[in-house]
Amino acid sequence: MNHPKATRRDFLKTTGLTAAAFGFPTIIPSSALGNAETLPPSERIVMGGIGLGNQGGNDLGGFLGNKNVQYVAVCDVRKSVRDQRKGKVDDQYKTKDCVAYNDFRELLAREDIDAVHIATPDHWHAQMVIAACRAGKDVYCQKPETRNLAEGPRMIEAARRYGRVVSGGSQRVFQDYRDTVQKCWSGELGQIKSINVNVGPLPQAACNLPAETVPEDIDWDMWLGPAPWAPYNSKRCSGSFSTAGNSWRSYSDYSSGGLTDWGAHHFGGATYAVDVRELQPTDITYHDEGGKKFLTFTYPNGLLLTHNMPGKGNLEVVGTAGSYLHVADAKAGEIKPAVVATPGANRPAKPIPGYSAKGGIYADFLNCVKTREKPFRDIELAVNSSLLSHLAMLAYTVRRSLKWDAAQQLFPGDEEANRFLDKARREPWQL
C-alpha cells in the first residue's frame, strides 16, 4: 500500500510541531472505495456515528453525502436503528462493510476512525466527547453539548489536551439569525447594550413514568448510562423533539427541556450576534415582577443578556444607535426593525465570523478536521452558550440571583448553588 506523504501534508496545516505529524486521517485502501466519488483515499476522513435516532440520522445523512468522508461504522443501543443505519451506509457505497456497534467504546477503539459524530441524548454527550478525544478522534457533538456546568470544562480540557477538533452541533446559530447578526456587526445599531432571548420551557417534573417491558431491541442499561436507574418506558427514551413529557428531552436526568434544547440555538445566536461567544457572564439577576419571572445576565464588558424579559421579543437587540427585532423564520416579510438613529452613534463594521467552508456546519467541521482550525462552534464557544441555559435553569430553580466566577467555574461563596455544578454518575460511568 502506498502512503502519499506529500498529499497528506498539502492539505494539513502544521501548527507548531505536531498537528500534521500525528493528526492526519487514516488511509482508506482502494478496495473500500465502493461506489463513493473517487476522492483520493488519503484525503478522506474516516467517520463513525454514535446515537443515530432522529437527529443522529440527519447528521449521518449529512456526513455520508460528503465526498470528504468515508463512513465506516454506526453505533446505537437499539438494534433496529443501527441495522437500518448500517443499511443506509452500505447502500451508499454498494458494499457490506459498515460495522454496527452497540457499545460506543468498541467504535472509539478503532484506530482507522478519524472522527465521530455524536447525537445521543444529552446525558451521554460529555462522557462520549471526552472518551473520543482520549481515543484521538475529532468530534462533532449535537447540542446541547453539556448537561450541567461541570461537564463543559472537562470537555474543553480533553479537546485541547489531545489537540482535537471538537465542534458543537447547532446549525441554526449561523443560519437562523443572520439578520440580527448583520445588524449588530455592521455597526448600524451602534454599541450593543442588550439582547433578549425568549426560550423555554424548563424541564418537566421528575420523570416517574411507569415501568414497561423492555423490548429486546434496546440495551436499556446502556441507554441509561450515567443517568440514574429507572425502569424502561417508551416515552422516557423517545427521541421525539417534543418537550411536553413524552421524550427524554423533557426530563432533567437526560436533558433540560426547551431551555437547553432550543436554548442552545437561541442563546447561541444571541451571543453570536452581540459578540460575547468567548465570554461568560458574571452575574445572573433573578426578577419576579408580578409573577413574571425573568433573568438578566451581565457580561464583563457591560453587555446585558435578558431571558424571557416581559415585553421583549426573541433576539431583540438594543444598541446606542437603535434597536432591532429578529425576524422569525415563519414571519418573513413582517420585518419589525425599530432603528432610531442617533447621529454619530454608529461604529465601524467588523468582519463576521462564519463557517470555514461552504456546505453548512458539517462542511465546516470536516474542513477543520483537515486544516486543524477551530470550527465555528468550537467546543469552548458551545460550552459558553450552553452555560447560559444551565445558569438560567439554576436561577429559576433556586429563585434567586447568582454570581458566577468564570475563572474558577463556580459560584463564589454560594455553597448551595455549587451543589448544582454536577450530578453523581451511575456506576461504572466516570468522566
Binding site: R161, Y162, A206, T397, E427, L431
Partner: protein, 231 residues
C-alpha cells in the same frame, strides 16, 4: 402540605404522579437561609431512608438531600453505599455534601463493596477533587480488576495534586490501564504547569514520551513539552 407529601412517599413508586412530591422542591426553596427549618426537613427525609419505602421514593429523597444534606445525613447515606440498587443515589447526595466527613464515608466504603460500586465511589471522590483520597487511590491503581485500576487513575488525574502525579509515576501500567494512567499523567502535568512547576511538568511529559505512548498521548505530551518551553 408537607405532611401529605411525606405520606405520599410511603407508597410512592414509578407510575405515580410526581406532582405528589413536588412540595419537597418548594420546601427546599422556602427553607433557604432557615437552618432550623432545613434541619427539620432533612431529619424527615432521612427517616424515609431508614424505612422500607420503595427504591423510587428513596431516590426522590436523595435528590432533595443533594441540595440540603448536611453532616447529619452522612451516616444514613453511607449505610446505603453497599446496596447495589441504592448506592448511586446515596452518592447523588453524598458527593455534594462538603467537608471531610463525606469524603471519609466514601473512602471507608471502598473495601466493603463490589468492584462496580467501587468505581462509583471513586468517581465521586474524583468529582470532589478529594486530595485525601490519594493514598487509597494509589493502592487501587494496582487493583487486579482493570476497571477499578483505570477508575483510580482517572481520579488521580482529576485531583491533579503533585502527590497524585507521583502515584501515577510509580504505577506499573498494564495493557488495560496504560491509557488511563497516561491521560491522568497528562492532567497532572497540566496542573503542574498551571502552578508554575515547569520542571515537574516537563519530567512528566518526558516520562510519557519514553513509555512507548499511543499516538494521541504522544501528540499531547509533545504539545505539553512545547508549552513547558514557551515564554
Amino acid at each position: 402540605m408537607l405532611d401529605e407529601t411525606f405520606d405520599a412517599l410511603k407508597s410512592y413508586d414509578w407510575g405515580m404522579d410526581p406532582k405528589a412530591i413536588l412540595p419537597l422542591d418548594e420546601a427546599v426553596v422556602s427553607t433557604h437561609g432557615d437552618a432550623a427549618a432545613r434541619k427539620a426537613l432533612e431529619d424527615r427525609l432521612l427517616a424515609v431512608l431508614r424505612t422500607d419505602a420503595s427504591r423510587d421514593a428513596k431516590d426522590a429523597v436523595c435528590r432533595v438531600l443533594r441540595t440540603i444534606g448536611t453532616v447529619a445525613s452522612i451516616p444514613t447515606l453511607a449505610a446505603l453505599l453497599p446496596d447495589e440498587k441504592l448506592s448511586h443515589m446515596a452518592r447523588y447526595a453524598l458527593e455534594r455534601i462538603p467537608g471531610p466527613e463525606a469524603a471519609q464515608a466514601l473512602l471507608s466504603a471502598i473495601p466493603k463493596v463490589a468492584p462496580k460500586i467501587k468505581i462509583g465511589l471513586i468517581s465521586s471522590l474524583e468529582a470532589r477533587r478529594e486530595a485525601s483520597a490519594i493514598p487509597a487511590l494509589q493502592i487501587l491503581l494496582a487493583s487486579t480488576d482493570p476497571s477499578v485500576a483505570q477508575s483510580a487513575a482517572y481520579a488521580l488525574g482529576a485531583i491533579g495534586h503533585p502527590e497524585a502525579n507521583q502515584a501515577l509515576a510509580e504505577a506499573k501500567p498494564t495493557l488495560a490501564t496504560k491509557a488511563a494512567i497516561a491521560d491522568a499523567s497528562l492532567a497532572c502535568a497540566e496542573s503542574l504547569l498551571a502552578h508554575g512547576r515547569k520542571t515537574d511538568a516537563k519530567a512528566t511529559y518526558q516520562r510519557l514520551l519514553a513509555g512507548n505512548p499511543t499516538k494521541p498521548v504522544k501528540l499531547a505530551a509533545t504539545r505539553g513539552l512545547q508549552a513547558c518551553s514557551a515564554g
